[in-house]
């Protein structure tokens, strides 16, 4: 085996692939697709455009101007969510999953690497979207309305958490992709679970509406003060505090990714 000896001698053959190798693979995969950069670019531009439009149409300083500037977060989440789904289902569509799992037979490592790489990339894009929206939304306000500043109470927190929510919904999509494996079905579950379920649950059981992902993001994460009305009112649900909301979203993502990892390891590829 002369050829084998030149490329992988006995010394090189010792050892084992590690998490960092798998993470590098996932990074190369993610960055080598143009669709990744288009989707993230549109996420940032879309959220910013929405902040500008709302800023221009703001007539008075009443209400939460920070929350207004971050209004593009909730619709924009769909893009990182879908990107997360595709990171997994795209491999099933093409058959790449079998090459991936033949290269890295410890499957949990594959999903963990995808989650870390995509989580960080989506977090960076999400924070960019949140901060640029915040600045652009403030700049678009009329001159007689004071733009919110990051130094005001709760403002920095809500901008930071808005950025994090892109990443968390993206991870939710990744986990759903691992569970469902088909792109269209996984996107349907994501949209149903994140957007539509909130409508039904909000109407039927106001008590738990505050636990719906989209309402956590809109009413807990991206506000300077969670809006709460009388707990006795059936029509006005109780919303989680920003940090409790963040914890809840992390929990959702962790549970969905955990189930995804378990199924990935158990099922035939």
């Amino acid at each position: 085996m002369t050829m084998a000896a030149t490329h992988a001698g006995p010394g090189e053959r010792a050892g084992h692939y590690r998490y960092r190798h798998v993470a590098r693979t996932e990074w190369v995969k993610l960055r080598s697709l143009r669709s990744t950069w288009w989707t993230l670019g549109i996420t940032v531009c879309g959220a910013t455009a929405m902040a500008v439009v709302i800023g221009l149409n703001t007539r008075n300083a009443g209400g939460d101007l920070t929350n207004n500037a971050l209004a593009g977060v909730v619709p924009g989440l769909l893009l990182t969510g879908v990107l997360g789904v595709l990171m997994m289902t795209g491999e099933y569509t093409s058959g790449m999953i079998r090459a991936t799992l033949a290269a890295v037979p410890r499957r949990g490592l594959v999903l963990a690497a995808k989650a870390a790489v995509f989580g960080i990339v989506a977090l960076a894009a999400g924070e960019a979207a949140a901060f640029i929206s915040f600045v652009a939304g403030g700049a678009a306000l009329r001159h007689d309305i004071a733009a919110p500043a990051l130094t005001q109470p709760g403002v920095l927190r809500s901008v930071l958490l808005a950025g994090a929510s892109f990443s968390l919904v993206g991870l939710l999509g990744l986990g759903l992709g691992a569970i469902v494996r088909h792109t269209a079905a996984a996107i349907a579950v994501l949209v149903g679970g994140v957007y539509l379920a909130a409508q039904f649950v909000g109407a039927m059981a106001a008590g738990v509406a505050g636990y719906m992902p989209v309402l956590i993001i809109a009413n807990s994460l991206t506000t300077t003060k969670p809006e709460n009305c009388s707990p006795r009112s059936a029509l006005c649900p109780h919303f989680l505090s920003p940090w409790a909301g963040l914890g809840m979203l992390c929990l959702y993502a962790a549970v969905v990714l955990g189930i995804g990892a378990w199924l990935l390891a158990r099922r035939d590829a």
Partner: protein, 240 residues
């Protein structure tokens, strides 16, 4: 060296692979023959740990696939054509796989050259013809310079020059002492390429013999194959 011991895989009520045992030895090309749907691809997926067997096990050099330290440096596999994202370039696809097993970028360019893809390495692989797609799949199998090669229908879609290339490549690999296991439904190609064959039908082992012995009792390897698998087709009819 690939060992299969009592490999069994059931899909619902259908037995796809039925207590299959065989050895694939280094230093020669071993053909894997069987009619369509006889369980060849499933067997290969079981060896690679992609499907979980219902019974039995497979080992590569005495170890289960999932316990290999650097899988791509120990086993190179081609399972299906176009098993990559169409938007990625050939080079990026190989670079991604290489990174997982600590294989350097130089080796990526090397296998692109070996597969005759150096000129199109920067093109999106989704635009590749079937022949180019097969070459990229083979380049991926060669990435880790593995002592064991497992190729499912590698000549599919290749033109005569491509078939000649793969035949020479696999013979050279075997002559270097590597284990080469190749499935095909093209018997004539197998007769030219392989020294030893494993024949299955209905997921069961029908023959495990040198090509010369198998073809010896019949006018050709094709006749021997049809005689063997004809029995398994009858078995199928009885079972139905």
């Amino acid at each position: 060296m690939i060992e299969a011991r009592g490999l069994t895989k059931r899909f619902g009520s259908r037995l796809a692979v039925d207590a299959l045992s065989f050895d694939v030895r280094p230093g020669r090309v071993t053909g894997f023959l069987g009619p369509n749907g006889s369980g060849k691809s499933t067997t290969m997926r079981l060896i690679l740990g992609l499907d979980h067997p219902d019974a039995g096990h497979a080992a590569i050099g005495g170890r289960r696939y999932r316990d290999l330290g650097w899988p791509l440096r120990e086993v190179g596999a081609l399972l299906e054509a176009r098993a990559w994202h169409p938007g990625r370039t050939a080079r990026s696809h190989l670079a991604a796989l290489a990174a997982s097993n600590g294989i350097g970028r130089r080796r990526v360019d090397e296998v692109l050259g070996m597969a005759g893809l150096a000129g199109v390495a920067g093109q999106r692989a989704g635009k590749f013809s079937l022949g180019m797609a097969q070459r990229l799949g083979i380049a991926a199998a060669l990435l880790g310079d593995p002592p064991v090669l497992l190729l499912d229908e590698p000549v599919n879609g290749l033109d005569p020059a491509g078939i000649h290339w793969i035949r020479d490549l696999l013979r050279t690999m075997a002559a270097q002492g590597r284990t080469v296991f190749v499935s095909s439904h093209l018997i004539s190609e197998m007769a030219l390429m392989a020294e030893h064959v494993v024949v299955i039908g209905q997921g069961r082992l029908l023959a495990h013999a040198p090509v010369a012995d198998l073809a010896g009792g019949a006018p050709s390897l094709e006749d021997a194959f049809l005689r063997l698998t004809g029995t398994s087709t009858e078995y199928r009819a009885e079972g139905a």
